[in-house]
Symmetry: C2
Subunit: 325 residues, 2 copies
Amino acid sequence: MTKQVQSEDLPTFNMIPVMDCCVIPLKDIPNRYLVQTTDFFYPSVDDPYKQGQIACANTLSDLYAMGVTGCDNMLMLLGVSLQMNLKQQDSSTIQLIKGFNDTANKAGTYVRGGQTVFNPWTLIGGVATRVCKREEIILPENAKAGDVLILTKPLGIQITTNMKKIMGNKAIWKMLSNKVTKEAVDKAIETGVRSMTRLNLDAAKLMHKYDAHAATDITGFGLMGHSQNLAVCQTEKIGIKIHTLPIIKHTLPFDKLMFYGLTKGKAKETSGGLLISINPNKAQNFIDDLKKTEGYDSWIIGEFVKGERKAQIIKDPKIVEVLYD
Amino acid sequence: MTKQVQSEDLPTFNMIPVMDCCVIPLKDIPNRYLVQTTDFFYPSVDDPYKQGQIACANTLSDLYAMGVTGCDNMLMLLGVSLQMNLKQQDSSTIQLIKGFNDTANKAGTYVRGGQTVFNPWTLIGGVATRVCKREEIILPENAKAGDVLILTKPLGIQITTNMKKIMGNKAIWKMLSNKVTKEAVDKAIETGVRSMTRLNLDAAKLMHKYDAHAATDITGFGLMGHSQNLAVCQTEKIGIKIHTLPIIKHTLPFDKLMFYGLTKGKAKETSGGLLISINPNKAQNFIDDLKKTEGYDSWIIGEFVKGERKAQIIKDPKIVEVLYD
């Protein structure tokens, strides 16, 4: 999510406090906007190819959260780790780039440019840019009281990326091993990786088809942080009430022991799902359509209600446990 | 300098092996191109405000090297150093951002978006984007045999950023102190900083006024690396012969002792000048005009000659020593 900088150049959008991309009206081209976002971070999975895929999906997700389904160009940002030897640097970097490129191509765009530095830690990220008409953009400000909120990926990503490390501690694993098996953990991790590498592109297309009113994507601030940001953007004086938490199966025992705050919506996510505000009459069609086109479940997790522009989770929310087959 | 990725989307430009920006034709808007570049690196000066200015000037320089004088948007890339305490992190980051923003505003653009991470080392950089007509872009491929090369900033930047550290070694300073005074070193450092924070914007505007045929900017690969890149881009079978080296005064004794390769054009530069290929009849007017508008000298440092697409420095080139008052 990009902090929107206020300026006199942005008369249309200067009421929106936070947006996933900046939106710049191009002065000399009628009805054309420059939509841009950047994101870079450190690897969270061991496989550099998958990490490249994740970084690309995560960067593009900011465009998708604003309904922008096309991308005219990507730049790649890369830090090669000084803690690796030359051979490791080579093989890791090649795979990072390949994963990033392949995902960009899958999204119908190309990486043409970027910057690489040496850094103590591996860095991977990108820039996504689109020049488009106003109609392609869904500003995150038009949710209505009574709208429901759809989430398109399960929560618990950060836990899945830490599971292996946590299990490495024998004392902790002793406490966990009567609740989860190693095979179950492997499936949770696999679900996490597949979730992170998934593009939010199909969901963004369906936002237009089913007339979504507002959206954001769930990343570093967790479900509650991003829900809160979405609430404060609304023109109507409405808030968010969350009643359901789709959670990657087998992450709950880890959460209970390690205090990620998963059931409070506080656990960080990476390349998470879109959180979409939509008319309740259209929500099930959206969910069915996404299942048909992409093969994945999405869930109605809450609603917009009249009141303060705040987000909250109800007491004892319904937990839906999710595993990708 | 951005490695230009070949693709079927780039029919017009796919003969140019390296460009300072990528240039993407926008499919649904006639005669409009998305021109983009990104650059990020580590601080080279102690003052975070000036470092922010340098990072911004350096990022924009890639647009200017291609004659693109406007910028529709910038994004800022920031790594906050984990080696600093909270107070240092705060004050350094605020000043980096302020320097970057002020320079963006001076260039007539705004920073609207970006990404910040914590990193072992401070990171600073940005993304510069322009949507423009073909006429705004000067592709770096149309130099003619007989063209002269103008350089708009002196060489030796890397040495000026290391001078203080070098002088800290008593044994080395003993060898240097009969050749330079501390006051002289201060002036060289000051010239380096002013040179790095200077925008190449005025020079880029004059490239259009005086019909420049090709250009690049001098950064991490040094004068020879970037000259070589410029040579290989040319449609005509021509090479570059460099006869003059404008060098920041008092850097030569450091170069001799520490082997930067300054007089071989191998020393790295940061936010260096534009290297511009121009008709010999227009060169002096360009130089006079830049002096009038910006107050700084530029120099004819070489020429394009028929032959292999290679760059070389003649034996015993003329050295011009430069200090900014």
